[in-house]
């Protein structure tokens, strides 16, 4: 727990991992991906999980995002312990509390940018008019409102990733988890996307936790959690730009 900015009291973490371990088994071969990770992320933080390939960044995000189950340890979202929930409860949490941005964009090719951005809201059962308004607002915030009616195959990589971010943002989740969101983008576009996410974090107070192995992006975050071989080797608070 941290003291809040005003020093008025303790802030409860929105994401928490306690002794988190994950071992992938393939036949007799066991591959440890995480080995006893302890981590707390406070609301409104803009945190990067850094480390080389295979260090366990994606696995950590998947476990915290209720996409996978740990071999041992605990995961928490706010006051809710999530690693013991059943599939339906975890799906509900992902739908209502967490926004995801994936490395490969993962847009639905038959939907337009607007429909993709509104997709999570559609799953929530939000009426069409409302969800399109929210999705359009998210696209506008990301500067791609004029591409709203294009399909993914008519967009560049950077534009597709912005739509993916818009999909996460339109649903107004408590936390956005982004797994290497800039990995498929050139450095300029990647940097622009991080700046954009940083701005949304500052304007909306939305919590961002993203993984990256690109050292240039780390200059723009508040906090860097470094992983190596499935362990946290450093947890640095830095002065973001």
């Amino acid at each position: 727990m941290w003291l809040d900015g005003e020093g008025a009291g303790f802030v409860k973490p929105i994401l928490r991992a306690v002794g988190l371990a994950k071992v992938y088994e393939n036949g007799d071969v066991k591959t440890p991906a995480l080995q006893g990770v302890d981590l707390e992320v406070a609301p409104g933080e803009f945190t990067a999980v850094a480390g080389p390939s295979g260090s366990g960044k994606s696995t950590l995000l998947h476990l915290l995002g209720c996409l996978d189950r740990p071999t041992s340890g605990e995961t928490w979202l706010g006051q809710q312990r999530t690693d013991q929930l059943d599939d339906f409860a975890r799906a509900r949490l992902r739908l209502h509390e967490i926004g995801f941005v994936f490395q490969a964009y993962n847009l639905i090719p038959v939907l337009t940018a607007l429909e993709n951005a509104a997709f999570v809201l559609e799953l929530r059962g939000v009426p069409k008019k409302v969800r399109h308004e929210k999705a359009m607002a998210a696209l506008e915030a990301l500067g791609i409102a004029d591409l709203a009616h294009r399909r993914p195959n008519q967009l560049s990589g950077g534009q597709q990733q912005r739509v993916a971010v818009a999909r996460a943002l339109a649903a107004e989740p408590r936390v956005v988890l982004a797994d290497e969101p800039t990995a498929n983008l050139d450095s300029k576009t990647g940097l622009a996307l991080i700046e954009l996410m940083k701005r949304l974090n500052a304007e909306r107070g939305m919590t961002f936790l993203f993984s990256t192995h690109d050292p240039r992006l780390l200059e723009h975050v508040n906090r860097i959690v470094r992983l190596e071989d499935g362990r946290v080797v450093a947890d640095e608070r830095v002065g973001a730009a």
């Binding site: 996409l67 996978d68 799906a91 509900r92 995801f100 994936f102 490969a104 993962n106 799953l123």
Partner: protein, 408 residues
């Protein structure tokens, strides 16, 4: 969900068109087949009842005994009068059948002498359908006879020739000479070669004065067709009015084999259609499953962003329903247009005699009932659901992380 399903279905147009086309073909085929089954059933019913009536009044022991005398209704006029008092609006055909020996100048053979007196409408219909040459014996005539054309050929007699009939052991003259006034054609050759028609009075004088073998009752519907319920009601009234001296039978009881066959046609057709739908369903399974395999990553993302397993299963089912609905709509439309185009009757060229021999009408009037359309659509919906069950189950069990790593 439906819009997404529609777009997903048409991602692979050729594959989806083949599957939807198969469904359309099966729906079309089923609809047309149902139409012809209905037409055949109605046609056979019409043929059967126009030949033998909706009801028959026979001697009380006619079904149990073989003896000619014992099978007769002796007081025919009284029975007829009582019947007409209860059912005044019916048309009657009075029939006396006499087994006899018949001969021309040179040849002889066994025959069935049929004395007939009937309502004018029935007589006209009978003449239209069966008189191949000449005419029927005049009502009340004692010396005119019409023979089945095959029987006339067997006896080597022609119109105007004398024909001799011997019915020994009966209560009439037992023998008489007639002039051949007509040749009759019947679809069943076996009947044509033994049928010899007299007036009822002529037959009664020959073998059984005042008696008949049966009264055929032809109901006249006030509107529409004569239903089984109407027939059963008429039977009950006739039986009550005529008492135990005679037996009243519906056409079903008089021709149980034919009735059973007609009753089986719809269920048999339904089973047959179901089998064809199963084959079409395999194509739908293939289309939906391939669509799933190619989009495993996509389903992984959909699950990752919050869709639960039931939601994913519903999405797959929706795609199958959309695909089958498109095919069903096309099938219903084309099938409906075909049936409408045959509204004035459908005749298979060159098959009239074959159909007639089988007791089927030469001209069919295909039509479908709402129930048959509902069964067709029901089969299509069931096909869509069954075809999607397995792919939907597979999709619902995907683990999002593994699915998003999947490489097609």
């Amino acid at each position: 969900m439906w819009a997404l399903a529609w777009r997903n279905v048409w991602r692979h147009k050729t594959r989806s068109l083949v599957a939807a086309g198969a469904v359309a073909a099966v729906v079309l085929f089923t609809l047309v087949f149902f139409g012809f089954v209905t037409a055949t059933t109605n046609g056979m019913f019409e043929l059967l009842t126009s030949e033998s009536g909706h009801l028959q009044v026979i001697g009380a022991r006619a079904r149990e005994v073989q003896d000619f005398d014992a099978r007769l209704i002796r007081d025919a006029q009284q029975v007829e009068a009582a019947l007409l008092r209860e059912l005044p609006a019916v048309r009657l055909r009075r029939v006396l059948e006499v087994p006899a020996l018949i001969s021309g100048e040179t040849r002889a053979r066994g025959a069935l002498i049929v004395g007939v007196a009937q309502d004018e409408v029935l007589a006209q219909r009978f003449a239209q359908e069966h008189v191949a040459a000449g005419r029927l014996p005049s009502p009340g005539s004692w010396d005119e006879i019409a023979l089945g054309a095959a029987l006339a050929r067997a006896l080597q007699v022609e119109l105007g020739d004398p024909v001799y009939v011997f019915a020994p052991g009966t209560e009439g003259w037992g023998a008489a000479a007639y002039t051949l006034v007509g040749l009759l054609a019947f679809p069943q050759t076996a009947y044509e070669i033994q049928a010899a028609y007299l007036s009822l009075e002529g037959a009664q004088e020959l073998a059984a004065p005042s008696a008949v073998s049966r009264l055929e009752v032809h109901l006249v519907p006030e509107r529409g067709v004569v239903t089984d319920a109407v027939i059963e009601d008429a039977k009950a009234r006739a039986a009550a009015a005529l008492g135990p001296a005679v037996r009243v039978e519906t056409w079903r009881e008089a021709s149980p084999d034919t009735a059973a066959m007609l009753d089986l046609m719809d269920p048999a057709m339904a089973v047959f259609s179901l089998l064809i739908f199963v084959l079409a369903g395999l194509l739908v399974v293939n289309t939906i499953y391939l669509g799933l395999v190619e989009r495993i990553r996509e389903f992984g993302v959909i699950i990752a962003v919050g869709a639960d397993r039931w939601r994913v299963m519903r999405m797959v089912l929706a795609e199958s329903l959309v695909l089958v609905a498109a095919g069903t709509a096309v099938g219903l439309l084309t099938g409906g247009l075909l049936l409408v185009s045959w509204a004035d009757g459908f005749r298979m060229p060159g098959l009239d005699e074959v159909l007639a021999e089988a007791g089927l009408p030469a001209v069919l009037y295909p039509a479908v009932t709402p129930a048959q359309v509902a069964v067709t659509v029901g089969f299509a919906v069931a096909t869509a659901l069954m075809a999607a069950l397995w792919p939907a189950w597979v999709a619902g069990r995907l683990e999002p992380v593994e699915a998003m790593r999947h490489v097609a």
